[in-house]
């Protein structure tokens, strides 16, 4: 991965957040956050625009998939030592 990161071009980044709501309650059920960064080729050049993230062009991808469940969560009993660290 470090090889990809050394070729990552931070001037070419894109991000999308897809959200799915429960159609009954309206609460968010799923989130998918997609982060993309373009990569320089062997000549040190990065494709511009959509071409940087298309078929046949290497790019770095991070995908965060959140799955939310809405059953009740009881109040936490946080030990005093931990509470101090959260203040």
């Amino acid at each position: 991965m470090s090889e990809y990161l050394s070729r990552a071009d931070r001037t070419q980044t894109r991000s999308f957040l897809d959200v799915e709501l429960d159609h009954e309650t309206g609460l968010a059920n799923k989130l998918e956050l997609l982060i993309m960064t373009g990569m320089k080729n062997e000549q040190g050049k990065t494709a511009k625009g959509d071409a940087a993230f298309g078929d046949g062009t290497e790019h770095v991808v991070f995908r965060y998939s959140y799955d939310l469940q809405h059953q009740k969560v009881d109040q936490f009993e946080i030990p005093r030592a931990a509470q101090k660290m959260l203040r």
């Binding site: 991000s15 999308f16 957040l17 897809d18 959200v19 956050l33 770095v60 991808v61 991070f62 809405h70």
Partner: protein, 208 residues
Amino acid sequence: MNYRSVLKLGLLFVFSLSVLSGGFVSADSVEKAPDARKALRKAAGDLMKHAAKKGFTTRLAVDGGMSNKADHKIVDQAVTERYTGKTRGPVMFLPERQIFRTPTKGAEFNGDFWRVLQSTAEGKKLDRLFAFPERVLQEAGKTAKSVEWLESKVPAKVVKKEKASGRTAVGGSAHEEKVYHRMRATLPSEVALKYFIDMQNSGCLSGG
């Protein structure tokens, strides 16, 4: 061509046009999609309220690597992280690792004593990678360049109109209402860069 023929042709033209444009639609059944950005902001607010009242559980999968596909499928995976956290109010608890955290601070029990979450490499990684979902939504609602509805996965709702009670009523009617529940927010490049830097600083890429 006489008057009747012209009228017939005219009617035929109007009928064809309406069929081609999706059939006859009464004015009150024309749907207007709700404002997607407002809906995203409302979703963030609703999740905050739900966290305060009842709480929720989050399962997060983080995958990273290299892709060379237009659908961005990872072909060389370098990061695979999985977390589960229960949120109640502003606090998230990760039962498997005995961690309590707020969006800015955290405490982890190492078996003997509590220590600051960000003081260990593992804690720092978790802190960088596991953003609170309500915060992710909130930030997107504030900063998104655009927000659009995606095609629904559930069938349209059939909504019945009630019959009028008067004697002249001709009967009730039903029409379909689309369900708007999936959306895509396009975030600005600065936000993408912030997440990228968080990923780099998490330390989970250094082994690669």
